[in-house]
């Protein structure tokens, strides 16, 4: 198949018809690659709303009774069928967990290369992230149809004026293998407390806390600020805190108004998890710790003295 140089297909993730923010970012990312031509979008289940404002000319909507629960290979099969019909020059999805998963299935089904978590693309030349964003890689994708995903939160969503997209309904032919893996159940989390990913304030500590008990003062400050407690990977590996508290490349990605990081040196593994923080306050005994090069504010000192002093000052100011 010879791809059209301007046909770009974007796979849309949505929650009950509302496109996810990373999917809208993928649409903004895709428009220059389509050189002004309207985009093709693909969704499964429900038609996502408002895609016309994001440059979509045609919405390919896959309908199948199996789409009631997420089945990654079945979504991928719908993408593959659309690729075979359209022969686009590029197929783009959000670099979310699900976006990367679906596109990896597409790449495997078509034996095509896939560039995950790109921050820019010109034709087949892409720049993608490594090390959770601590390093960039310039690469060339050798394929007639370029498959890529867009690193979330690196492109600002821009709307454009366009018509309501034309709808193209289709029912993909799904094999037993496409449906073999699907969500079959749900375990709800115990509610309570502020979730780390959504917290407006995160107070965390690393090895400098000294022990599991050393987190008492961290919990106290987080409590006074209505925030969540975080920690570094060293702390989780020592068994002082559960992995759900870990901020980092292989932990939780946070985006608070302020991140108070105490006794944390600032390894790339950790910093990849707090790039979304608006402000960072670092507390460390070592004035040369790398974290001070990424932080907005710093306090030189032992967290075991500084953190209780901040809590005491908050109590004094609030008259508690």
């Amino acid at each position: 198949m010879t791809p059209s140089t301007r046909k770009v297909l974007v796979v849309i993730e949505h929650a009950d018809g509302a496109p996810t923010e990373p999917s809208l970012q993928a649409l903004t990312f895709a428009r220059p690659l389509a050189a002004g031509e309207p985009l093709h979008a693909l969704a499964v289940g429900l038609a996502p709303r408002g895609l016309g404002d994001h440059g979509v000319g045609t919405l390919h909507l896959a309908e199948h009774e199996a789409f009631g629960s997420y089945a990654p290979a079945a979504v991928a099969r719908s993408v593959v069928e659309t690729i075979q019909r359209l022969t686009p020059s590029a197929v783009i999805a959000a670099g979310s967990e699900l976006g990367n998963e679906v596109m990896a299935h597409v790449a495997a089904m078509l034996d095509l290369p896939l560039a995950a978590n790109c921050v820019s693309a010109t034709g087949a030349d892409v720049t993608r992230i490594r090390w959770g964003g601590s390093l960039l890689e310039e690469a060339t994708v050798h394929a007639d149809t370029v498959l890529l995903t867009v690193q979330p939160h690196t492109v600002a969503v821009e709307t454009t004026t366009a018509e309501e997209p034309a709808g193209e309904l289709f029912t993909p032919e799904l094999s037993a293998a496409d449906l073999a893996v699907r969500v079959t159940g749900r375990v709800e989390a115990a509610t309570g407390g502020v979730s780390l990913a959504d917290a407006k304030v995160v107070v965390s500590a690393g090895r400098g806390a000294g022990s599991a008990e050393g987190f008492g003062i961290i919990e106290e400050l987080a409590g006074l600020l209505g925030g969540a407690v975080g920690c570094s990977r060293a702390v989780t590996m020592a068994g002082w805190r559960p992995h759900t508290d870990q901020v980092g490349q292989t932990g939780t990605k946070i985006a608070p108004e302020i991140y108070i990081a105490s006794g944390i040196s600032g390894a790339t593994q950790h910093m990849a998890g707090c790039k979304g923080a608006k402000k960072i306050l670092a507390i460390n005994t070592d004035p040369d710790a790398p974290i001070f090069a990424s932080a907005d504010y710093g306090v030189i000192g032992d967290l075991r003295e500084v953190v209780p002093a901040i809590s005491a000052e908050i109590r004094r100011v609030k008259g508690l």
Binding site: P72, E97, A104, A107, A108, P113, A116, I129, R130, W131, G132, S134, L135, L136, E137, E138, A139, V141, H142, V181, V183, T184, R186, V187, E188, A189, L225, G226, R233, T236, H243, T244, T250, E257, I258, S265, G266, A267, T268, Q269, L281, A282, P287, A289, P290, I291, S294, D296, Y297, G298, V299, I300, G301, E305, V306, A309, I310, E313, I314, V317
Partner: protein, 251 residues
Amino acid sequence: MNVLTCVKRVPMTGGTIVLTEDEQAIETRHLGFTISPHEECGVEEAVRLVEAHGGESVVLTLGPAEAEEQLRDCMAIGADRAIHLVTDGEEWDPQATAAAVVDAIRADGTAYALILFGNESADAGNYQVAIRVAHALGLPVVSGIKGIGVSDGQLRCERESGGGRDVYELPLPAVVSVLEGLNLPRYPSVPGRMRAKSKPVAASIPSRPESRLERKRLVVPAGQGKQAEILGQGADAAPRVVEILQQIGVL
């Protein structure tokens, strides 16, 4: 049940990444090496499954001769043997990596009930080798897993999603890519390290195909040019910190 875990040797980067002069690699002269964090949990899970259900736990890597160090580390916490696909140190793209892993699994001949990967490697983060291997072997695959249970030849996997967990049930054999937090990996014991020295490593040299995702060069992202404003030393800094918290509006 026989369990295979695929791992990748990566440098421990510390605070700042420095590149080699040709911008093709990270300068690692002063760095130690490890495997990707997700994979550490994969190896631990494999060892636990074999402890509970019997069978053999095998680790596989595609990497330079020095990656034997990481295979020995995995055997020190309980893996029984290792498969080493020895490279000249050049990175392989994810398609080529998956193809080499598939060839090695076929050549090994063991019937693996479960093939584990990390969800993505710490360095390249391509998010696709496990899925490519599963398609090539015609096996079911699930990604991003933080909970694994096996009973009656069925696999039950849990994946975090929207404040809870989605459950996937799939038949064995299967491929699963896992996330850190699946378990707390054990530290190797001294006897474990001693035993690992004499466990078998099957080494072979695969030939590297052309990259279809061809790396041109690496770039350290422009720093935000930040140098933290130092608010003070020790406990005396507390009033300034509280002023800042008030300015930001979180107090």
